[in-house]
Amino acid sequence: MSNHYNMPHLPTAKSPRVTIEVDGQNVEVPGDTNLLEALKAVGIETPHVCYHPYLPVSGNCRQCLVETEGPRGKALIISCFTPVKEGMKISTPRSSERVKNARAAVSEFMLLNHPLDCPICDKAGECTLQENYVEAGKDTSRLFPEVGKNYHGNPDHQFYDTKGQLRGGKRVDIGPRIFLDEERCVQCDRCVRFMRDVAGDEQLQLALRADKTYITTFPGRKLDHEYDLCVTDVCPTGAMTAKYFRFQQRVWMLSRTATISMDDSLGANIWLDHNNGYIWRVMPRCNPEVNRTWISNTSRLAFQQFTKDRLPVGNLDALKKALEGEGKIAFVLGGSATNEDAAALKTLVNKLGNRAEVFVGTFAPVGTPDGLSKSGDPVANRAGFALFGFTQTAEDLAKRASEFKTLVSLSADLWGSDASKAKALEVISDRISISAKNDETAKKSSTVYGVNHWSEVSGTMVNVNSILQKLNAAPTSPDAELAPLFSVLFALAGEDVTSAAIAFKKAGEFAPKLAKLSFDAIHSTGELLDGDAAV
Amino acid sequence: MMEFIESKTWIEWLLTIAKLALAFIPVLFILLLIPMERRGAGFIQDRQGPNRSYIKIPFFGKIRAFGWIQNCCDGLKLFFKELYEPKNVHKVLFSLAPAIPFGLTLLTPCVLPYFASLNFTFGDTVVHIPAANVDTDIGILLMFGLSSLSVFGTVLSGWASKSKFPLLGALRATATSISYEVCLGLSMMGMVLLAGTFNVEGIVSWQENHVWGIFVQPVAFFCFLLSAIAETGRPPFDVSEGDPELVAGYHLEYGAMQFGMFYMGEYGHVGINSILMATLFLGGYSIPFMTTADVQANFGGVLAALFGICAFLALAFLHMVYRWLREFNKGKASNKDEINKEYLLYKIIAWVAVPVFIALAIASGLFLHPEATMVNGAPVYGIGTALGTAAVQFLVLMVKTVFFCWVWIWVRWTLPRFRYDQIMHLGWKILLNIALLNLVVTAVIAKLVMGGN
């Protein structure tokens, strides 16, 4: 591509303010951004298809047209690629019939050969085209029925349907995780831009020209990247559909729970989309400071294992008995534990006195940040554990394994992460596992106790950039008897705490940084903890 | 003891004891009244009524018998249901109460004659057996005395239930029953006055010899009819169990066969009152325009007419069956085979019955000429003729009674329930006065016309 695209400059709190005239009224907008974002900042939504705040601006859809008044009279411009200037005169559909007609015409043109697939399209309900079309208010078709829809894309995929119309490009297997529907594609090239400029691996291309354009991969190659499922998110239509979610649910049936992906210390913000007590998909939740709108395939597909291989609720008295007696106890706190779990563990350890020591994490290797939604550290809440003084790692435990008589692994899959390294721990005779999953460690343990998975608990975590983020419980627990880890630990310490908000208050007693915050007041995009600068 | 036994011949003893079975006649009316009420109500409301219970027999399949099987189903259901009683009831009285109206249903008809007294030659002797089980001169008084006792069952059940609605229902039932018994007694007195006897058979034979009571005492008949309906506590006088106010009245707390006893008592009461009405005002067992002596003299002819009527009815039945089947088979019913098979049985029975009845009619008309012996100037026939006459008379009485039973049902499904005060108003201020006036007028006319003492 010879085109040079610019990343859009998004407004921040520090943006300079300029005054522009919108629909005859003066409004103050952020001055260092494009018109679309500026209008959005004052509450005017502009329909757009190809524009995406975290992708380079391409400006090919012409859906975001507004009218501006310049020295050469009034003109239609695309708001996504026009920087805001002091004193601009802008007309939106509210005051300009021309803009309204132009947008409706663009919408109609875009749907000219777009199939009427909405009932069977997985995007229906969250489809940009649907929203724009409804907003344009054109509810009648001007298409001659005898002409019908015509497919002009990849000639290899053409066929005539039962009504004799030229169709094609349905269900193109473009990669191991994604199906492409060329017919639904509106050639906004968001996916191409994502792969090239965000994922950094130019695997998708637009082929041919004009109305024959279609999305394809290079010959003989497939779309296969750690972030390739993000193209299904950026796709404004149902052209790119994830195989795992294809035909599973209609999006309007899903309820969303905002939470944090606890498999990486960046703590990617996610939505858990659930219905009937099952998670059906995981979507990225926009957080400009953390993962923007991207999550990796690993985080996205992890939900498929959430309810598999779960431990049943155990016997709390047996646990209590196992912790009694002499001999040192090693607690290994897994990376997915929340601050509340850490506070509960701290309470328990304080009660046990010198006998107990806490180690964090597993033997899983620490990787490098990929710059999108992963920092590489599998211990998600390492920064949070440090607030409670839990800094010793599992490696430290492996060196000193002979000192301990009892090993309590809390949601930490030691054997599953590296069985050869975990072999050193087998000198510890009493092994207890308090975990959501019946993993390798649980199988090596003499006593097991089932708790809620992190997707089913409320709580907080501190990510690698010291941002305190809140997890919310999705109602997907396979067994109503299961309790969060912190309430089990509190119960072992002899306290009755079932609410995350109370546990967070208790966490404040051990970690002064948390004491200033209220659990309910934590913003959905997190709170930067005092004294730490964001990286 | 032996003396007492030897005071009568063996045939006398046999018939006297066999007569006891007549006590069950009013109870047996339940068999007739239940289907009559159910299907009658159905027809009145343009429905079919319950007609789906059946018994299965080989070849003919499901036999529904026009809804009569429903009796068995109801009876069996009530019989096999669990007896229970609420917590705080008076246990003895609670269990005793249902037995009273039912027991009285067996006792009350002891003075009713179902046929004329049997008078026949047996060997050398002339045997006379009174028709009623209790042949007494105060017959009708005894009967009213007994039937009034059934109020005890009602009031005891209401009180023993220890519940508000039954108590209210029982009080209302008692008040209604007692009020209307006054009218009942007074309206009947006209007939007693005319006949000059309390003996029921005497009243019937007066009608036999003169004219039916309904023609000489039409006002009394009407008062009697209303009072009898009210006394049994059936609609439109059923305030005692007025569903909207009292749920079910005095038998609210009863279930299973205890409720069944009340039910049978009520229907038995209807039966008794119908028989009484037929006896007092429609000439009882007497065949119109024929005295018992006439019947016996022309016994063959009477039987021939009877069998002729039977044959006609069977033919009418056949006509209805064929007509209905024709219409039915034109329809789209899915059970045509089943129904046709069932009706085949009825057709066979009726087709057999018709020639049999005709043959019997012809045979009895031609060949039955009973021989009479003159005793004290009156002809006395043999035992066969006497029993045959009794059977014919019984049949005639039953026909009249069934008509009155139907009146009960007819009135019930026509008129809405009266208010309680309206019932009292009607009973004490209207019917009683009319009955009294009727009695006085009757007495005066009887004195003037008949010249009695």
Partner: protein, 189 residues
């Protein structure tokens, strides 16, 4: 708005009740005699054996229309399930074997013990797959789970029962099936 309806004053005869009662008795005996002697003219029918006439647009038991090749028309769009106020339609979608059709229902169940027969599912269906014109109104089953009809039950209707409906005749066994199959063509995977 208040409408005052004045009751007609009863005259003396009417107030006496007795004559009116006899009039009532006359009415009822008329009906009784009709039922007794002309049983066949009763307006009621012996229900389970004689089925009442039910018009086609009565909202009765559902059926699923089929394509000329016999596959259900349902494209598993969930519109019916979304429209259903009683939440009695359960659908699972799957990939269709026919390449021209994207989606099909691998499971389509209607719980008739929950269904309120409002017909919204029929209205919602974008492909005229679901209909309620079977005229079947009787739902009698010994077990609760028998009320749940699946795809096989829904598609097992006979085109001969719908002679006036061209859409039904397209189904296998219908009069239009042959022509429709020719138009439908080969299944492309």
């Amino acid at each position: 708005m208040v409408r005052v309806v004045k009751h007609k004053e009863m005259n003396l005869i009417e107030r006496l009740y007795i004559f009116e009662a006899f009039r009532g008795l006359y009415t009822t005996i008329k009906h009784f005699l009709r039922g007794f002697f002309r049983y066949e003219t009763l307006p009621t029918t012996g229900y389970p054996e004689v089925k009442p006439y039910i018009p086609r647009d009565y909202r009765a038991k559902h059926r699923m229309m089929v394509r000329p090749d016999g596959s259900p028309r349902c494209v598993a769009c969930f519109m019916c399930a979304s429209a259903c106020p009683a939440h009695c339609i359960f659908i699972e979608a799957a990939q269709s074997a026919d390449g021209r059709i994207e989606k099909k229902a691998s499971r389509f169940e209607i719980d008739h013990s929950v269904c309120i027969f409002c017909g919204l599912c029929v209205e919602a269906c974008p492909v005229d797959a679901l209909r309620m014109d079977t005229c079947e109104t009787s739902f009698v089953h010994p077990k609760r789970k028998d009320f749940i009809v699946n795809l096989t039950d829904l598609t097992s209707w006979n085109p001969k029962d719908y002679p006036d409906d061209p859409q039904s005749q397209v189904a296998p066994g219908g009069t239009q099936n042959k022509q429709a199959l020719e138009v439908w063509g080969e299944v492309k995977c």
